[in-house]
Structure formats: C-alpha cells, structure tokens
Symmetry: C2
Subunit: 393 residues, 2 copies
C-alpha cells in the first residue's frame, strides 16, 4: 500500500484557496481572498515591458538562470528596501523566490525540525501556518492586542521554552487582523530578540500600502545582529501572477535559503524577472502604488462605514491603517465557520477566523478583504452579511 509521510496528516487544503475558487464566480461578492484589484493592474505597461524583453533578450528570458535571481532585479530591490524601509542592504543579500509563499516555505525548512517550537502572533497568516506545518513543529501563539504582539508574553515564553527555533511576525497591516505594531513594541521586540538570539521572519507584503498615519520602521532596519529575515513580494505592489518575491537576510542565513531554493525549484521564472526589471526601468512603480493606495484606502473607508451602518451591536472590527484586511469579532457564542455557509447562500464570502489560530479556537472571528471589490459591491456585501449575522445572533 502507498504510505504517505507523516507531514501529510497535518496538511489540508487551505480554505482560502477553496474560497478563491468561488471568487471566480461573478455572482459572489468575495471578501475572502487577498487579491489585488484586477482592474488597476498596469497591463499595458507590462505588455510593453514584455515586448521589449522578447526583442532585446528573448533567449535569456526563455533560458535557465541563476538560483539567486538576476543581479539587476536584486539591485533594484535593495534600493527599494533602502528607500521604503530604511534597510541598509545589498543585492548580495537578496534571494529571488517564487512569491513570498516560497520564502515562508523555505523559512520553515531552514530552521525547523519536527517538534521544534515556532512562535507567531495569535492569530497569524494561514499560508505561513500551512507552510510551517510541513515541518511538523509545535506552534506557540503569542497573545496580541490592538497594537501588535504583547511583549511581556513573548518574553515569558522565551524564558520558559528552550526549543524556540524561530519567530514569525507580520508587523505591518497584519494578515489577518489588519493591525500594525506601534514603535514601542518594535524596539522592545528587538531588545528581547537580541537577548535570546532567535531568528525572526519579518513578513512584509503590505508595508507600502499605508492609507493613514506615519510609516513604522521595519524590524530589519533595527536589526544589529543579523537575526531578522525580511520577506518581500511584488504580489501586492505590482502583480501576483508573475510569482516574484524575495528574501533579505545576512550571508550565512541567506546561503541556506539559496540551497533550499536549489532543491525546491532551481530558480524563479527568468521571464518574470526580466519583464519586472524592464517594467521598473520603463515606469515609476511608486506612481502605481500611489494609485492603488488611493483606491484601497477608499474601499477601506467604504467598508468601515458600511459595517457601522449594517452590522448589529455586539460585533466589533479593526480599522486598519493600511494593507488589505480587517478582522471582525462576533459575540462569543457565535460561530463564523457555520455562518460562512449561510453567507455563501447569499453569495457573500469571507474567511472564518479559526483557521488563523494554529492551535484552534476563536471561532467567533472572521477575516475580510476590502481591496478586490468595487465600492458598491462592498456596501451590498456588508449589508447582506449584516442581515445574516442579525438573523443568527
């Protein structure tokens, strides 16, 4: 008989991926995915970039290239990280990956043996939890409040647990909650990390998508001991269809990620890389980011207003400063997973919050995306959601 590895017992299909399939149905108002607004993709610009690449270096685009990625792309990323995140780095400390998800997968595999402890925010990104599960670690959830991870709790856990091999965090516009760590927490976090010398995966897909308030320094920009591994991606600031992300880390750690990529997929797409380089040469990505920030910021406002208008007393939610998501908490006795089925009957989708807690519970929560739907559909969807919630209260 065919026997699967024990890691396969941990893995189920992600609910998000299943719900994304529904998002393909034009009748469904989907707040489930984390999709960028497709109507604002710079299609014409990417077409011109693609034509230029095929004319100038078509054979390179179609051939194998190096595991670490094209030097010109890594150079542009290093410059962008300096400009946007005040992170001093070089092209040599950047590894191109097939989306940020691959960076998450490598993170688990580089650090985690079976049974090792990984710390993460409670709740945390479902895709990261799934990636780490393939290494069969023990998850310890660090409690959070509205301004991020609670540092006293983090320190308590680190003092008590000897097998903590890595800490996974999303300090900016967190997935799923939309919350952002305040400055004090960031400094305190680095102080604790420097004391315990545990590697930190700083996942930052949304950092540039801020709609109000001041930028916060990336943990990597405060890192003096080379403990922070920064994951970035073009998925949210340009387009996810090219599958291009990156890892920024110190030499010794990045070399391990590179070995991992050689084993896992050899390299990221040559043609995606060359077309992205060309686009960045031909156009100003900042203009595009500014445009989508305006759109997403408005959609966030519309969703916040609609929730106030249509959600009943007893329901609360996060007002995010940026990113793609907000987080809704129902009264404790309610179950968002059961409610999701009833909402789908009304052609509205969200992701039940329980999936974001690796150790379970919190079934009265759900995650809402506001970037992918136009304003009228946001209002209509929230209205329907509000009705279903009221009926089931």
């Amino acid at each position: 008989m065919v026997r699967f590895s024990s890691r396969m017992d941990q893995l189920k299909g992600s609910e998000i991926r299943e719900l994304l399939k529904l998002a393909g149905d034009p009748n469904v108002i989907s707040f489930a995915g984390g999709l960028p607004a497709r109507e604002f993709f710079p299609v014409e610009g990417m077409k011109k970039a693609a034509m230029a690449v095929m004319d100038e270096s078509g054979a390179d685009a179609m051939q194998y290239s190096s595991t670490e990625g094209y030097p010109a792309l890594r150079q542009k990323i290093a410059e962008r990280m300096k400009a946007k995140n005040n992170i001093d780095t070089t092209a040599d400390n950047i590894l191109i990956t097939s989306g940020s998800q691959q960076g998450l997968d490598f993170s688990g595999r580089v650090f985690l043996n079976k049974g090792d402890v990984v710390l993460l925010e409670s709740p945390s990104y479902l895709g990261a939890i799934n990636a780490f599960k393939t290494c069969e670690p023990r998850f310890i959830e660090v409690p959070t409040d509205e301004s991020g991870m609670i540092m006293e709790e983090l320190e308590k856990i680190l003092a008590a647990e000897k097998d903590v091999k890595m800490i996974y965090v999303i300090p900016d516009f967190q997935n799923p909650t939309g919350r952002t760590w305040n400055l004090e927490k960031r400094h305190k976090f680095m102080e604790i990390i420097n004391k315990y010398e545990v590697p930190v995966i700083e996942d930052n897909p949304y950092g540039e998508l801020r709609y109000r308030g001041e930028s916060m320094p990336a943990l990597k920009s405060l890192d003096t001991k080379g403990l922070v591994i920064f994951l970035g991606t073009f998925s949210k600031i340009l387009a996810p269809g090219y599958r291009l992300g990156w890892v920024c880390a110190d030499d010794e750690i990045l070399a391990k990620y590179n070995f991992m990529e050689q084993a896992a997929s050899l390299q990221s797409s040559s043609v995606s890389q060359l077309e992205t380089i060309k686009f960045l040469e031909m156009y100003n990505l900042d203009d595009h980011v500014a445009k989508i920030c305006e759109v997403y910021g408005k959609r966030r406002d519309v969703m916040m207003k609609a929730m106030e208008d249509y959600f009943p007393e007893g329901v609360s939610w996060v007002y995010p400063d940026g990113g793609l998501f907000t987080w809704v908490t129902l009264p404790e006795h309610m179950n968002a997973r059961e409610l999701a089925t009833k909402c789908l009957e009304k052609n509205v989708a969200y992701v039940p919050g329980g999936s974001f807690f690796p150790n379970g519970g919190h079934e009265n929560t759900f995650r809402m995306n506001y970037s992918a739907m136009p304003e009228d559909k946001i209002i209509e969807g929230i209205k329907r959601l509000g009705e279903v919630i009221k009926e089931n209260m």
Copy 2:
C-alpha cells in the same frame, strides 16, 4: 545563537548550479549544464503569444490563479501525454508545478519521513537527490547496466527492506547516463512494483527527444494500480525560463501534491501558464520538437565522433538514443573531480560523476551535455578534454 534544521546539514550548493554560473562566461565551453540550445528558442512565437495574452486577458495573467493550474493547460497536457506516451489521463489528474524540480521536491515531501528508504538508479539525477535530501531519507542505489535498472537487484532490495517508501527512476535518456530502459525491463519493473505496491516517481523530461530507435512505453502507460507518478516539463521541449512542469497521478496521490503546492508556493506563474496555452494554440509544438531533435541528434553525433577521435584508450562512454547527456568513465584510478579543475583551466566544464551517487564513490566518471554547444565548440572542447585526460592518465 541561530540554529538551523538538521536537513540543512545534508544540503550543499549543487555543483551543476555553480557550474552553470561559469557557463555564462562566453570563453568557457560548457558541457556542464542541462541547458537547451538557446539559439533555437521560439522567441518570436512566444513574443506573439505574450502580446495576445496581454491584449485578451492581461488582468488574468497578472492575478492569482488556482493551485492546480489553468484547466486549458492541463487539458492540453493530458492530450499530449496520450499522443506521446499513450497515457490515458484527464486534466483532473494533472497538477501544474513550477518546473519539474518542484515536482521532485513535492515527491519527497509527500512520501518521505526522516530515515525512510528511497530507491533510485545508480547513478541518478543530482537535482532529485538534492530535493529528496531535504527529507533526510536513506538512499539505496539500485545497480544498473547499459539498458537500465537491474530488476533482480531491485527485487532483492524490496524483499529485504521494509521501509521503502518510493522509487525514483528516469527510464528515458537518463540523467546523468543517457541510458534508456529496454522493453523487457519496463514490464518486469511493473510486475515487481505491482507485487510490492510501492509508489514510483517516473521522471520524464527528455522522452520526446529521441534521435534514433523506437519509442518505449512510459511506465505510467503500463500502470494498472495507480502507483506511478509521472513528472513532465516544458523545460526541454519548449523553454525552461517559464518554470512550468506537471505531475500526473491518480486522485488520492495528486490531492497530496496539491496540498504540498498550496503550502510551498500557492501556484505556478499565471502569466507563464497563459502564454504557454496561447503558444500551443498558435503554433505546432511538434514542429519545434522535431527541429531541436535534428539539432541535438547532430550534436550528439559530433560529440561521439570527437570522443572517438580525441579520447585515449581506456576511456569509455555511452552512445545515447536521445536526451541531452552522455556519461564518461575514466580508468578506475583517475578522479574526475580533480580533473574538472584542470579542465576549467582550459575553459572546458563538465559535471563530475560522483555527485550523482547519493552514497558516494565512482569518482572516475563524469556527465557531458551535448545540447547547448554548437558543433565546432563540441569538437574543440572534446579535443581539450582529451588532452587533459591524456596528461593525467
């Protein structure tokens, strides 16, 4: 202190990837990589396909898509597998991966726990060995002769070992040896596999690249119990730069691969998939394959002739029926790894054969690629190689 997982002790950078970097130097005559001939890529066709995709469905190309891949691409692959390999399958049994290497990575992770046994041909593909190493298995090499794996040896091992979780084979134009299993071995293999019910990874990147003799049936086409997992790729028949491969397997097994892909990278590039679908609609891929078969067949002949002319007595090599590689055996006392350095001084590169034996040894062998270099460089490179071999005999 930062502590890495135990799997990282197993992984080193692949010599092939390091040698591929040298291949970028135009002064080096490289027989090291497994690169398709860049001068024959259908650049103009892929440019037209890219333009059409961006005009007709640019936003789809830039957006997330499903883990399993575009139905139209999976349909075309299923049809091609029927036409080329006589494999009866459907789009539902195809999963698109980011190159075949990702299929190898998933294979290890779906089946192997630490310490489990994986069987493979001795020697076998370095990239597969590397991928499997991340699961820390025990490798047992099955002895081979000029027509493939020795079935009596395989049966002996299966009778003695209880922890064999999978068997990895490349029956057509094997990497690294260029050898092809004969028909008798294929039938005998399936008989043994059906008896022991062990899953088989049939890696078939080169099957369509035959330059003489009759096609042999794919193991998957002889599979009556759903034990064979077939890995295919566009890398060698179209272009590797798009990173598109596929897994064909029965439902239960393919579902595990799908979960693995969700965790590892979410999906393969949307734009790569749509451009490949469009290319397959606009052009006849068979014409392209016929053209490169003609070119590679000639290059093989030129290399064979040059080896006869310039290699000294005591050196032997494989005359392959297809694929990209031949395999050279030096006298037993010689070391191809040491010799590689001396060859690089003469600007000629190959891959030392020892790397293809997971349990070591066989340092008097090396792998030679003949697809990537034009005929005059093949002759010049073999001449230089012959001189270095003679000097060090």
